[in-house]
Amino acid sequence: MKTILLITVFAFITISINAQIINANLIASGLTCSMCSNSIFKSLKNISFVESVESDVENSAFKIIFKTDENVDLDALQKAVVGAGFSVAKLTFVMNTNSLDVKDKSLVEIDGKTFYFVDMKDKTLNGKVELRLLDKEFNSPKEYKKVKKKLYSDSEKRVFNVSI
């Protein structure tokens, strides 16, 4: 019953809109030294849709600028960090929006990706908006525990849980 209800809700609120992800800020965990940070830097730079990467070695933080008009695969960022031997503790990304209506606890299809918005008031997004990914593999175990219950959990499709 719950599934049917979710599917119905999903069908009603899914809207497909074009919006470009411009950049992302990533904080990696599990490292201190610059050699480790450099490994992450090199593997992020090697991703096909990444234009450039700036790193803040002290805080294991990376600002990633994406190529325009290329599809940004957020999961590929996480895989690059894990491949380097570390984890993602936080990922926020900036997206260009244009009259995008979003509601709390609702699914929105943007540029071929499905997002589930949590912890927000219903609003219309315009211009550059920064979103935070709440999924398990993009957060430290401690942070994930805090938001876990609020997340959309349907394994059928890749849904990115986000908050503003």
Binding site: L31, T32, S34, S43, S48, G83, A89
Partner: protein
């Protein structure tokens, strides 16, 4: 040798300082941490060791060139060659293959706890001249073990436990029947990042201090040894590594040919090898 003595004193002092503070980072000189090298990283190393002979005079010099590759973030492979100056001229004694698999990874900001399994298979054709079993550069054989590593900001602590088995060194040098052919190895390693105090770029030289305790117990007779091995390490431009360490026997109840000596290693890393962009 005067140089050995001086070096030993300095490094022992470093070691005491480290332990007193209770703790390099985890790129240990004498052991591997549970953290693997990154996926698609090709790491090249050349290690030279100079060990003072216990019986008679002279120094045993070994060269060990090495290549490591990260197949994935969890699996790495390594191959190493053993060359020595045993017969006055350079002598290719053998080589080994090594693989390490990280099976546990718990990351937090500037912290981690990791565990890994490793295995090594070695071939060596030199003569067997000691009771100590060492598949890195002395014995044909294999080693299987487990490693646990904890990183706490600038300090890393790691421990290893392994089973090592020696076989005949080719058909020319059979393993002596009177000697124990298997051993249990254990280690406890401390490392601390000393410099830079604060990171601003990848070009800053990193300076690490390490202190490791390396032990072995022969499974049959119970004969054992314990060594202390302090080391200093420089990391240049976040991709070149230089290690200098001194290994010193604290006690031993078994015959060892040359337990005390100096180690120098040079490492250079190539990133994103064998990947498509």
């Amino acid at each position: 040798m005067y140089l050995f003595k001086q070096m030993k004193n300095i490094l022992l002092f470093i070691c005491m300082m480290l332990v007193a503070k209770s703790n390099a980072q985890e790129l240990y000189v004498y052991t591997e941490p549970a953290s693997n090298i990154p996926a698609h990283l090709l790491s090249t190393r050349i290690m030279t060791s100079l060990y003072k002979k216990k019986v008679g005079s002279g120094t045993n010099i070994h060269f060990m060139p090495e290549i490591r590759y990260g197949i994935s973030g969890n699996l790495m492979v390594q191959t190493q060659a053993f060359i020595s100056t045993r017969n006055e001229s350079l002598f290719a004694e053998g080589g080994s293959i090594y693989s390490q698999y990280k099976f546990l990874n718990r990351d937090e900001i500037k912290r981690h706890f990791r565990m890994a399994l490793f295995g090594r298979a070695s071939f060596n054709r030199s003569d067997i001249h000691q009771e100590e079993i060492e598949t890195v550069g002395h014995n044909t054989g294999y080693e299987l073990g487990v490693i646990a590593t904890q990183l706490l900001h600038k300090v890393a602590i790691s421990s290893m436990l392994s089973y090592e088995r020696a076989l005949d060194n080719g058909s020319q040098n059979e393993f002596p029947k009177t000697q124990d052919n298997s051993a249990t190895n254990y280690s406890l390693s401390f490392g601390k990042l000393m410099l830079p105090k604060k990171y601003v770029s990848y070009d800053q030289t990193n300076f690490n201090l390490m202190c490791e305790f390396l032990g072995q117990r022969l499974n049959g007779s119970g004969k054992s040894f314990l060594d202390i091995a302090p080391a200093i390490q420089f990391i240049l431009k976040s991709r070149t590594r230089i290690d200098v360490g001194y290994r010193h026997e604290l006690y031993s109840t078994m015959l060892r040919s040359a337990p005390n000596g100096l180690l120098v290693r040079f490492e250079y890393n190539f990133y994103n090898v064998l990947t498509k962009k």
